[in-house]
């Protein structure tokens, strides 16, 4: 997934302008002529300069390349699907772990990833359960991280 330098430059330029707009209204430290906006403002100005250079470089060298070139992996269904599944697993964990608890979410994430990467189903079932339990024991029991129990709270151990 390759963006042209012109496009990246424009996005970065927009970002630096946004930052400059935000820090404009930051008040100075009382009694000083400098404030919390000075440093991020300086950085944003430098970023704007760099993005102008990047845009120029893009115009010079990549004028005829499209703004976005999909990588080879995007066109391969297997790879693109797995990419989306990995992201999906993380999003699923973020949204569902409080409710479903670590044991269910962990097993689900592992089983999905194993299946997506073509691990044999016997292994998938066995490994997803065992790895989740091992990780749970290490972090919950040994390191005392309060991994959520969610709907499994009644059988908490």
């Amino acid at each position: 997934m390759k963006f042209s330098d012109i496009f990246s430059g424009l996005v970065l330029m927009a970002l630096s302008l946004l930052i400059l707009l935000t820090v404009k209204d930051y008040p100075d430290i009382p009694g000083q002529n400098i404030g919390p906006g000075a440093f991020p403002g300086l950085l944003a100005a430098l970023l704007a300069l760099c993005s102008v250079l990047l845009i120029f470089k893009g115009i010079k060298t990549q004028r005829h390349t499209p703004w976005l070139v999909w990588g080879e992996w995007v066109t391969s269904r297997f790879h693109f699907r797995n990419f989306l599944i990995t992201i999906g697993c993380l999003v699923f964990y973020i949204t569902a772990s409080d409710f479903l608890g670590f044991l269910i979410c962990g097993t689900a994430v592992l089983a999905t990833m194993f299946t997506a990467l073509k691990v044999r189903w016997q292994w998938t079932v066995m490994l997803s359960i065992i790895v989740t339990l091992v990780v749970h024991t290490i972090f919950y029991k040994a390191l005392r991280v309060p991994l959520p129990w969610g709907i499994l709270s009644p059988i908490q151990w």
Partner: protein, 500 residues
């Protein structure tokens, strides 16, 4: 006084718990380094959530040991599969593979192991000898000097060894801007928090690193379309035979590689990969038999194998003395030191000298146990290389999730690894290096603090940054690095026009 401190350091390191941590992280580092696609930086990023629960000395011991091991064991898949296990082995992967094809796998791996250990010990020795003296000088530094030191470090990170200086500059600025998020600034004003209370204390470093170095590598594996490689040989003989001969024959390349590696490590922003590329090139230049390079000749492996391990120790010198990381691994380690309230800087030599000596001891220990453990790893290497990566990767993902959760016990950490994992993946796809970003995040707060303090001290007059004697020299050094690309460009132009 010193003996008492040394004894204390001995007690800290030779504690059964610390030794166990060292042993486990050594095995972990050897394993991760041996698997292509998992780098030494990833080993560190995965270790950090666990070290979060340890006292300072074992936490640092875990990182030091795991990285030293991973850098060596990156040579193994290089020699057997022709893919470097970590970027630091890339410089001599072809050479080692050619040796394997000639039936000399054991010489290539033995040289990698023995000379890695010697290089590592050399770097450690330099660190032990020089860092206390440097710390004495650093005590005299004020905010002006620290400001320049940070800029010098960041300039090095951007201008040395990056394919595109401009893109490295951009990621560095992005990293510095991320460091601006939250309340922790001289004015104590919440900046760029988007109304999220999670961002009030800034972006947590550990989830960010796990995202940038572990999740993004995972995404790269998932989207990688290269066919699997074939193991070149099953038979590896005694890796130690003939090493004494090599040691005598190549003592100068060994010394040169170790010295160059240490210097490159000290220079902020350039780490083991650069040390190994540069010293391989130097080895070829100074060799009596340069024509043999690339055909399976051990000399380059001796020199750059030593260089990449010595650079690891070198990178720790500015990290401990000034709190300025030499590469992305020490950037992570500095983050850990801050979490442990063991803020790096010259004061640590006065307040906690036993901890510093403990770090020195861990370096020595790690480089010594590398030899037997590395030998064992080579013995079972062909088995490790057969570990199914489609089984390993989901397990790494679950570790990333739990590790980032455990920092604040909230899913916010998981959200951060998703964001930074995707961001780092996209940046690298587009040729933006991510290491400068992490240096920016680690150094951002320090840079702003020193900048604002200096500006207040000087009543807003920026000239003061150049008038103090040490500050002036640091400023000159920085400006030379900043203008270096312009010099080389101009020089090339002049020579070209003359030639024409």
């Amino acid at each position: 006084m010193t003996t008492a401190v040394l004894l204390q350091a001995f007690w800290l390191v030779f504690d059964p718990y610390v030794l166990l941590v060292i042993l486990c992280s050594a095995m972990f580092g050897l394993f991760v380094g041996c698997i292509p696609g998992l780098s030494a930086t990833m080993a560190t990023a995965l270790l950090v959530p666990i070290t979060f629960f340890m006292p300072p000395v074992p936490a640092i011991a875990a990182i030091v040991t795991a990285t030293a091991m991973a850098i060596f064991s990156g040579d193994i898949p290089g020699a057997l599969l022709r893919i470097p296990g970590t970027p630091a082995s890339a410089a001599y992967t072809d050479e080692a593979y050619q040796m394997t094809l000639k039936g000399q796998a054991e010489v290539a791996l033995g040289a990698g192991l023995v000379f890695s250990a010697i290089g590592g010990l050399f770097g450690t020795l330099v660190m032990i000898l020089f860092s206390p003296a440097l710390a004495e000088i650093a005590l005299k530094f004020s905010s002006f000097e620290y400001f320049w030191l940070v800029v010098l470090g960041l300039a090095g990170a951007v201008f040395i060894g990056n394919a595109s200086v401009l893109k490295a500059c951009i990621t560095l600025l992005l990293g510095l801007l991320i460091a601006c998020i939250g309340l922790e600034n001289p004015a104590g004003m919440p900046r760029f928090t988007f109304g999220l209370k999670e961002l009030m204390s800034g972006v947590e470093l550990i989830p960010m690193m796990v995202g940038m170095f572990a999740v993004s590598e995972l995404l790269r594996y998932i989207t990688n379309m290269d066919p699997p490689h074939i193991i070149a040989t099953e038979k590896i003989g005694n890796i130690f035979s003939g090493m004494w001969g090599l040691l005598k024959k190549y003592r100068w390349p060994l010394a040169r590689g170790s010295a160059l590696g240490t210097v490159i490590g000290i220079q902020p922003g350039s780490g083991a990969d650069m040390a190994s590329w540069l010293s391989y090139a130097m080895s070829k230049k100074f060799s009596k038999e340069p024509e043999k390079f690339g055909t399976g000749h051990v000399e380059g492996i001796v020199e750059s194998g030593a260089a990449n391990n010595s650079s690891l120790a070198g990178a720790w010198i500015p990290a401990i003395v000034f709190g300025i990381p030499g590469d992305s691994i020490t950037a992570i380690a500095i983050g850990v030191l801050y979490l442990k309230n063991m803020n790096p800087g010259p004061m640590i030599f006065i307040n906690n000298p036993e901890n510093i000596y403990a770090i020195f001891l861990v370096f020595i220990l790690a480089n010594i146990i590398m030899v037997p453990l590395g030998w064992l790893t080579v013995k079972i290497a062909t088995k490790i290389l057969r570990v199914q990566r489609n089984i390993l990767m989901p397990i790494i993902l679950i570790f990333c999730i739990v590790g980032s959760f455990s920092i604040n016990n909230s899913v916010w950490g998981v959200t951060l690894i998703l964001f930074f994992g995707l961001a780092a993946f996209l940046l690298e796809e587009n040729g933006f290096p991510v290491a400068p970003a992490i240096l920016g995040v680690v150094l951002g707060t320090m840079m702003e603090e020193n900048f604002i303090t200096s500006m207040i001290k000087s009543d807003g007059d920026p000239l003061v940054f150049f008038t103090r004697p040490i500050a002036m020299w640091l400023a000159i050094g920085t400006i030379v690095i900043l203008l270096w690309p312009v010099f080389t460009w101009a020089y090339q132009r002049i020579t070209q026009t003359r030639a024409a």
